[in-house]
Subunit: 649 residues, 2 copies
């Protein structure tokens, strides 16, 4: 195991392509990448890159009116043809052929046009250059160290970064932010005197069509520039940023832009100067615009020093309250990056109302591949179905557009690190791949995407392996939901590291994360009539659906309503019995997945199999701990026995 072939795109995935005669027409750096890929495959599988004569595959840059990342694919008369208007589209076309496998050279089909539905498909790396005393090298990182940074500097050997760029191109990702949105002192300097390290990374990612972005601190003019203010309307500040952008682009001509977490969880921002977030974002957009860059401005702004005694403040409301009034005020080069839910990447949240409330703003939806609250890559939790649900949500009901149609961009917090398997849980690779493909086409069927990932990762897998992988992954998100916090209420995790259960772990905290369980009932009243009014942040039909406990979907009930334990769900079960039942079911499902995986031992490379098997041991242990703590907590509190008489401690 060389640590590079342990993901999709092992050499075998190129077998059908590598055995053919391929003609490549066009020039430019990304065409060079295409040429190298094909040549390497042919070397191994006996095919040839031809300069003329007959061929099975034509990869051609033409001026066929295609967009920057588009490609076409057709097969006629025994020849498969891919065209694109530049090398970037051609590279995507090449990987399309690889995904098709033998099928790419079978039969015939008319010209298909493939284009990404979103302009930008980005991974945000929460990587620190210097190891942070609390958060370590990668904040919320569960896959080893950083791919980019080591011992306070950019790595010396970028072979792994190169391989990463290739994996990303193969699933359609075209942008990476290389450092943590919580920008500490050392990392701040990447913007100025240490930009050379960013440029070195950008050079390695560029041949795969991946542009490099940088997280910056809003206070940079003060902490780096020595100015007395970072006021976004102050001319000296604007000029400082403009000059900083010029320097960055001199080093990285295709630099993507800045990512900013401002006025959030202790990070500085425009509020300090009495300015709006549009003022802040627009200033940075103005600095970047001359060079073709954009600023990603995160909407994750809330009061993280809330008083748990204060039931009028609702963290879920915060992003909408802060940003919806600013719709139309953001510059063209400012992207508002919105977490998919109103809280923080819980296993179940409603879709953020911000996504339906800002039609005149360029929106990016942010999801979290790293699994901070969904098992931290120790539990298998394939998030494809969850992301798909989010992207399919229609804020104005069935007749309106989906989130996938409203979003101009998709962003994920990356789950990759220098682990030999890229991700701490080898099966978590599927999250990275699925994210890229859903970002390309938000209405894709996630189970079909999973098929792609299986096909690319385990070329010529026998049916038993394909079925086994589906059995282990398809329902894993819902399994995880079953044994953790129930019915959308969220949190209930141990504080700080967020792994493992603690039902009251965030109940009396300043973080705005409460379930309000007492001896009679549980849940947060976010209705407009009697609660915090959060439900009214949605348009109809959702505001009406969520407003009433009678129409609110079961899986979100406790997010929107405080109900008695005896409240009957639409499933016909009471809330308390649902809590008990799903916990037992969740553990049983985790145990079953472990058994299924054990049965695949003869079909999976031993190190791969062993790592996953080891994670399943921890998952089953963890699931039982969740089951027992949650059940004991609610039995002690409600006094209601399990209807089926199972053991609750």
């Amino acid at each position: 195991m060389n640590g590079f072939d342990t993901a999709w795109l092992p050499p075998e995935a190129f077998g059908p392509l590598g055995a053919r005669r391929t003609l490549i027409r066009g020039s430019g750096p990304l065409v060079g990448t295409v040429r190298d890929e094909v040549a390497r495959a042919c070397e191994r599988f006996g095919g040839e890159v031809v300069r003329d004569g007959s061929y099975d595959l034509l990869l051609e840059v033409t001026d066929g009116g295609l967009g920057a990342e588009e490609f076409t694919c057709a097969r006629e008369g025994g020849t498969t043809t891919v065209t694109a208007s530049n090398g970037h589209g051609l590279l995507y076309g090449l990987f399309h052929v690889v995904r098709l496998g033998a099928q790419a050279f079978t039969g015939g089909w008319p010209r298909e046009v493939h284009r990404p539905a979103t302009e930008l498909r980005m991974l945000d790396h929460w990587d620190n250059v210097a190891v942070h005393p609390v958060m370590g090298q990668v904040e919320r990182g569960y896959a080893g160290g950083s791919l980019f940074w080591r011992e306070g500097r950019a790595r010396e050997d970028f072979a792994r970064v190169r391989a990463y760029g290739r994996l990303l191109a193969a699933c359609g990702i075209n942008a990476v932010c290389v450092n943590n949105v919580n920008v500490h002192a050392v990392e701040a300097r990447l913007l100025t005197d240490r930009i050379g390290e960013v440029a070195a990374i950008a050079d390695v990612l560029r041949p795969y069509g991946v542009r490099t972005h940088l997280a910056v601190t809003f206070a940079a003019p003060v902490v780096l520039g020595g100015l007395s203010t970072a006021d976004p309307l102050e001319p000296a500040v604007r000029e400082w940023w403009a000059a900083a952008a010029r320097t960055v682009y001199a080093a990285v001509p295709d630099f993507g832009g800045f990512v900013v977490k401002a006025d959030s969880e202790g990070q500085p921002g425009p509020f300090t100067y009495g300015r709006s977030h549009a003022d802040g974002a627009n200033m940075l957009a103005a600095a970047l615009a001359p060079h073709g860059g954009t600023v990603h401005w995160r909407a994750f702004v809330y009061d993280h020093r809330q008083d748990w005694r204060d039931r009028t403040t609702d963290r879920a409301r915060a992003a909408y309250d802060h940003f919806a009034p600013l719709d139309g005020e953001f510059a063209a080069g400012a992207v508002l990056q919105v977490k998919h839910g109103p809280m923080d990447f819980q296993v179940r949240e409603p879709v953020s109302p911000v996504l339906g409330a800002m039609p005149r703003t360029r929106l990016a939806v942010e999801v979290q591949a790293t699994q901070e609250y969904t098992g931290q890559q120790r539990h298998v939790c394939w998030l494809g179905p969850m992301w798909s649900e989010v992207l399919g949500f229609r804020p104005e009901g069935e007749s309106g557009p989906s989130v996938g149609e409203l979003a101009r961009e998709l962003v994920a917090v990356s789950n990759a690190g220098d682990d030999p398997f890229w991700t701490g849980h080898p099966l978590a690779q599927a999250n990275l791949y699925t994210f890229g493909r859903l970002a390309w086409r938000p209405d894709a069927d996630p189970y079909r995407v999973l098929d792609e990932w299986i096909g690319l990762t385990f070329p010529s897998a026998p049916a038993r392996l394909v079925e086994g992988l589906h059995a282990v992954l398809d329902g894993s998100w819902r399994t995880y939901e079953k044994y953790t916090a129930p019915l959308g209420v969220g949190f209930m995790v141990q504080s700080g590291h967020h792994y493992g259960p603690s039902v009251d772990g965030y109940e009396y905290s300043p973080w705005g994360t409460y379930h309000f369980a007492d001896r009679d009932g549980i849940g947060v009243d976010r209705s407009a009539a009697t609660g915090t009014g959060y439900a009214a942040q949605y348009a109809e039909p959702w505001s009406g659906v969520y407003e009433s406990a009678g129409t609110c979907p079961d899986e979100l009930l406790l997010f929107f309503h405080h109900v008695p334990y005896g409240h009957v769900l639409s499933s016909g079960r009471t809330v308390i019995q649902h809590i008990y039942d799903t916990r037992f079911d969740g553990v049983a499902e985790a145990e079953k997945a472990r058994r299924v995986w054990a049965g695949l031992v003869d079909l999976v490379e031993p190190a791969w199999h062993a790592r996953v098997a080891e994670r399943f041991e921890e998952q089953v242990r963890g699931a039982r701990e969740w089951r027992d703590q949650v059940n004991s907590y609610f039995l002690r509190k409600s006094g209601v026995p399990d209807a089926h008489g199972r053991l609750i401690h």
Copy 2:
């Protein structure tokens, strides 16, 4: 403020002595210390150290049959006379005169003999040589860095250690263990190639009669000696330790001995080799005996990986179960060091049953000055009355001996660090002083000891300051108890750092620390009849007293019994109303103490006053947080409203 006079023994404390003519007879290093002290005082206050002629004070080493640390004091015909059989006793006599102040030179009184009731009065420093990634420089340290270690080595400047030795001598402490009982890799080597650093510290402490001890790892023969085993019955192991002891004594001729935490919280021990703790301790005692050293073997042994679901295992039982059967098996040079309670330094615990169960074992009682669970030197919590209660407890009832009489030694986990005030909370100095004086005389009235501390720390304090300090300190332990975990049940702290409330923080943990609160009641059934049987580890009358909820003292009720919230205490209140009332009372008392302190602003040196005032802000904030979290938790769980209708969130 020079950082050295901010404790007892500022120069002014020597005023009455320094104005006199003093004759000193005797020789030896500690007599030299006495001579220096007197000379320095005279320089400042105009007195004189005379060689003959008339004098007001005679300090004399005689062969009057006194024990090693004893001294006499008398006043007759205008002359005060202190005698001792050596310099150590004479030094204690000198500090006795300083404590008496002007009274030492007023009137007359017959010869009094002063002798310590205990042989050894020790401070254990939980200091790491190298900063530990989780625990920092001082484990559970709330007073800055280590007095001894800095940046991975012994400090270069020992002026502060010298001043520390002097403070310790003045309150009667005669031993210090200079490193953490959790012995990490770097610290292990203090025993061997780094013993020179220990010797340097010992040299500085020696003139104050303080002997130096070292915490060692039981695995030393393996990790340092390269042996394949640390089996205490293996001849090669025994010889390794004997050789190690010889090396230590070559460097530190008056070395005190080893301190060992074995088979506890992950530290290695004799259980690994199927040996008993007596086997382990006796091996080390044998190595030390030829040189006059002792081993302090901690009785803090329990299963810290308990399953919270398992109600048959009771951590409180562990020390007795492990050690009581070994009574009589420990060598003369082995001291069993027993925490005062069965758990871990909670604000209220019963006295450890081990202390009444091992008459044939040399016992040391261990208390914790550092306040890990009692406010971490951010809350004022003078522990004198608590320690006094422990020492006054009579395991066999009124006719039997007290713990203070049973204990041959007293040990405290030190609360001192390199903070300019020595302790993080300046008033926590009183804990250090009180410990020393109670160790000297366990039946001393702690409030009189506090008077001493006030007199020495604030010489010629006006009555208003003396009264104010008593008002703030006298009841502070019970105030702290009132707003934290109720009725002896303990814990309810945030995990890891142990500061601040989390009612369920240790409820589903592996640490054996549970309260079992449900909607009907709370507490741990430790009775013999229906519970874990812990109550039966006591002799009569206590086993009977604790066995029944009807006779168990209120303040320990939930430690011994699980009772309904409506259970009526001997105070006449129900348990739930007691919880509410004491929380409100505790906060009111903390607020009152803050006011009292504010009123002393004109009487206390500004930096001193300000530091304490700042701590009171945090204490009041923290007390309110405790009150509100505990009350909300139990209101939600019990559903019983406060009888007085006060606000519970």
